[in-house]
């Protein structure tokens, strides 16, 4: 069963008289447990494709399915609900709500999902420990390093066990050591918990660790290879 399915999906922008084909007639299938990267130079359409899959943007043509549910026809509020229930997001930086502590940032997603308060601690604390954030749960984002912030973002993304985690250049603002460490954590989660990851990156480290590399150029998929 496909977790993500894109059928002939396009996203074109009008810039004056010019039509920019950010994503052009893309077909893509991601299976449960995939650990894939969208690779390509800047402007190749990686982030746009990630946004289409995440329901942050709407295709001008084609169809996007998450867990066999078509996203195209859904309202803004329905898309929010889909993101909350099925998708975890990790962005390049500024991933966290600055006024909440590390623990509260993870808890926040459980609260808006309506999960009973008593379940929060027993789910969050082991996860933070697993991600090496034990003892840091009461710190607010400005008191955490970039790598620690990204790990909190990972914890928030996986705490509700979504169908897929979309990570838009998650290592771009990290030094190599922190980036490797973060990638290893995500790889471990993929192997142990069978969490599906889709990255967009042009970082060779990410491309190296990924099991599937989907190369993009000018809005099209030019190569899709499994290692």
């Amino acid at each position: 069963m496909n977790t993500v399915e894109l059928k002939n999906t396009s996203r074109h922008y009008q810039s004056g008289s010019l039509v920019v084909k950010a994503v052009d007639q893309v077909d893509l299938h991601l299976k449960k447990g995939d650990f894939a990267v969208l690779a390509g130079p800047s402007g190749s359409g990686k982030s746009t494709l990630l946004n289409l899959i995440g329901g942050l943007d709407r295709p001008t043509d084609g169809e996007v399915y998450i867990d066999n549910e078509l996203l195209n026809d859904k309202s803004d509020e329905q898309l929010s609900r889909e993101r909350l229930e099925k998708i975890g997001f990790i962005f390049q930086a500024y991933n966290l709500i600055p006024v909440l502590t590390a623990y509260e940032n993870v808890q926040f997603i459980m609260q808006i999902r309506g999960i009973p308060e008593k379940e929060h601690r027993e789910k969050i604390m082991p996860l933070l420990k697993e991600l090496g954030l034990e003892g840091l749960e009461d710190r607010k984002p400005p008191e955490l390093s970039g790598g620690q912030q990204q790990r909190v973002a990972v914890a928030r993304a996986i705490v509700l066990e979504p169908a897929i985690i979309l990570a838009d250049e998650p290592t771009a603002n990290l030094d190599s050591e922190t980036a490797v460490n973060l990638l290893q954590i995500m790889k471990q989660l993929n192997e142990e918990k069978n969490v599906t990851f889709l990255f967009s990156s042009h970082d060779p480290m990410v491309i190296e660790i990924a099991e599937r590399v989907i190369s993009m150029r000018d809005g099209k998929i030019t190569r899709d290879e499994r290692k």
Binding site: G54, S80, R83, F89, Y94, V99, I109, I112
Partner: protein, 414 residues
Amino acid sequence: MILFKLAWRNIWRNVTRTMIQIMVIAGSLFFVIWMQNISCGSYEKMIADSVRSGSGHLAFQHSDYLSERRPELVIPADKALKLAQNHDEIKHILPRLQIPGLIRSSRENCSAMILGVDFNREKEVNVILADKRKVEGRLPTELETTKAYVGEKLALRLQVKLGQKIVFMFQNLEGVITSKLYRIAGIFRSGVGKIDSGMVFVDRRSLGKAFGDPDAVHEVALILKDRTTLESIKKTLEMESDKSMPESSKLLAWETTMKQLADAIKIDQANLQFMIFLLYVLVTIGTINLLLMSVLERTREFGLLRAIGFEKSRIRNLIGFEAILVGTIGSFFGLLVGTLASAYSWHYGLDFSAMFGAQEVAGMLFEPTIKSIWNWKWMFGLTTSMIFMVYLASIYPAGKAMRVNPSEAMRSYQ
């Protein structure tokens, strides 16, 4: 609960900005609450002072007297007195005979209004007859039927002193010109030019005798213990007066007999309400501006919230909560300071003598020391309206936040 926690922490992200917003709200609310309480106190004071020297809270008059002011439009005093004496809610009953005419001294003459009053009743109530307004001499007693109490400017014009004679010439009930001699017992200064230069107080019955009917009066002014009972007393008296009073007599409320004052109060109230409205609009505009700044600074964060599944409606509620929190804190302090300031002016009063000078409002004598009153209904109304206005101010910034496109926000606002 999560929205409340997030909103609470968000408002303290920029302490200076939030404090400015709270101070603007608190300052505005303090000002309007205090102004409202002082204004209401001043209205009560104006009414209380004016009904004493004017026509009372209620007055029996001939139905045409108010509009025509002809001396022959009289009513029987005894019947009105008997009727009013049966009601405990009425504190003072003041029968008055008011006759325009000419006053002559040995040197000068001039027109004036001679007021026949029951000195024993009137001195307890009428602010013009208060001791502090006496320039010299004394107030005549009930038995001194040929003594007059004269305004200072009138005495100067007539060039008369205490004990000297004046002759009052007027038309009696039959239309015949008649005259009556008085000696000056005392001179007063009310501070109102028209009163000081044209008013004389004398005994009512002796004046009535010369007028042609010792029982005739132009009005019987009634001062109530509590002004709020006016409508019920008026209704009762009207029913009773149908049987005992002549058909030509009418019971009038102070708003009718002192229309100028009632209108002045209405205009002042309207001005105050307009000022409150303007102030609230200014606070709303200021709040929109500050909330908008706060929202625009957090564009990326709203993008993040939307990306992780926060619905638009929750974004709207979050901004609304932030506005309500700031509005409630500001309003609480505004109400607190407004209450303290009102307590001061309620207890000690504020002396406006420098501002009012002549102590005259709408032709009525007015004591310039004003004590505010507690208008709780208005105070809480103004407070809740302020919170509501601040909440309304959040609608536009919340709309902006709701329209944030998450993908653009995450890409563009670093």
